[in-house]
C-alpha cells in the first residue's frame, strides 16, 4: 500500500491531489424515446451540446459514405448535465446520441467513463441491445434502468435481466425517469456497482 502523501512532488507543475478538481463521466444510453433526456433533466441542469464532427473521421465507421466528398462535417446533438457533489468534484452526465451512425462518438464518450446507465422501455426492449453489447464488450460497468412509463406493462427486474441475457451481477433497476429521486437512485446504484467492479479488477490484476 502506498501511504497518502499529498505533498509528494510527482508532477511539480500540477496542482496537488487535494486541490485538483475531479470530473467523473457517466453515460446515459438507450433507444430513441427511452427517456434519456428526461433522466438527465430530472437529476441535473440539462444543457444541449453540439459536436461538429468531421465525416472524414466518422466515415471510417459508416458503411455508406456516398456524398462524403460534398459534406465534410455533420452536427450531432446530445444532452449533458452536471451534478456538483462538492467544490472540485462533479459528475457529468452525457446522453448518448441514439442513431447507430454515431457509434464513433460513443468511443470518445466512453473513454474514461465511470460507467453507464442503459435506459430501456419494456415495450421496445430490443432497442437497448446495441448499448448493452457495447458496454459489455468494453467492460464498462453499467446498470439497466427500466423506465416504467405510465400505462406500460410492469415487468419485474428478473424478467428483464433474463430477456437481456445480462452478465451475472449487472444491476437492473426499475425507475421513473421523470422523478428526481428515482433518477438519483439509478445513479447511486451505478456508482456503487462501478466501485465494486473497479475493486474486483484491481484485485484481479494483483492476484
Amino acid at each position: 500500500m502506498v501511504p497518502e502523501h499529498p505533498e509528494r512532488p510527482e508532477h511539480p507543475d500540477a496542482p496537488d491531489a487535494e486541490t485538483a478538481a475531479l470530473a467523473l463521466k457517466i453515460l446515459v444510453a438507450g433507444g430513441f424515446g427511452a427517456g434519456k433526456t428526461t433522466l438527465v433533466g430530472a437529476v441535473s441542469e440539462i444543457r444541449p451540446l453540439r459536436t461538429e464532427e468531421l465525416l472524414s473521421e466518422a466515415g471510417r465507421s459508416v458503411d455508406d459514405t456516398d456524398g462524403v466528398d460534398r459534406k465534410v462535417t455533420t452536427t450531432v446533438a446530445m444532452d449533458f448535465g452536471r451534478i456538483t457533489i462538492r467544490s472540485g468534484l462533479s459528475l457529468y452526465l452525457f446522453g448518448t446520441p441514439g442513431q447507430d451512425r454515431f457509434w464513433f462518438l460513443w468511443d470518445e464518450l466512453a473513454q474514461g467513463a465511470l460507467g453507464a446507465v442503459v435506459l430501456t422501455d419494456t415495450r421496445r426492449l430490443e432497442d437497448c441491445f446495441p448499448a448493452v453489447d457495447y458496454f459489455e464488450h468494453r467492460r464498462i460497468p453499467f446498470v439497466v434502468a427500466v423506465n416504467c412509463f405510465e400505462g406500460a406493462r410492469r415487468h419485474d427486474a428478473r424478467s428483464v435481466y433474463r430477456a437481456l441475457d445480462l452478465d451475472a451481477g449487472t444491476p437492473v433497476v426499475l425507475c421513473d425517469a421523470r422523478e428526481r429521486d428515482s433518477g438519483k437512485e439509478v445513479l447511486i446504484r451505478l456508482v456503487e456497482y462501478a466501485g465494486r467492479m473497479h475493486t474486483a479488477r484491481l484485485l484481479d490484476s494483483v492476484g
Binding site: A21, L22, T51, T73, L91, Y92, G112, A194
Partner: protein, 136 residues
Amino acid sequence: MTEHTTGAPHERGGHWYDREAGPLVRPYAMTGGRTRPGPGGARFDLIALVTLLPGAPGTDDPALGPEHRALIDLCRPETQSVAELAAGADLPVGVVRVLLGDLLERGSVTVSLPVPPAHLPDERVLREVVRGLRAL
C-alpha cells in the same frame, strides 16, 4: 443571402451551393479552417477541465478572436469542462477544442488530462459521490 432556402439552383454561381451545404458560415471558419488543436495537439476530453491561469494575458489581446474571449470569460468564475464551454459559448465541441489549443499555447489556460480508465477514482471518492447523490 437566403436564396438557398428555396432549394432552387443558384442563379449566378451555378450549382456551387445548395441547402444541403448547411449554414453559410461553417463552424471551422472561426478557427481559420483548422479542425485540430495546434502543435500541442491533444484531443481534449469532454470532461477535461479548463482553468484560467492567474497571470494569463488579457482578453484585450488583438490576436484573440471573439470566440476565444468568450471562452476566457466563461472560465473566469470557475473551472469549466470542455462540454460546458461548448454549451456556454454555443459552439460545437470540435471548434472549442481548436480554440482551447490556442489558449493553451498562449499560456492563458491549463487543461487537465482525461482520467485514464486504470486510474478511476478510489473508493473514498465514490463513497463521497454516493453520499452527495443521496443528499441532492
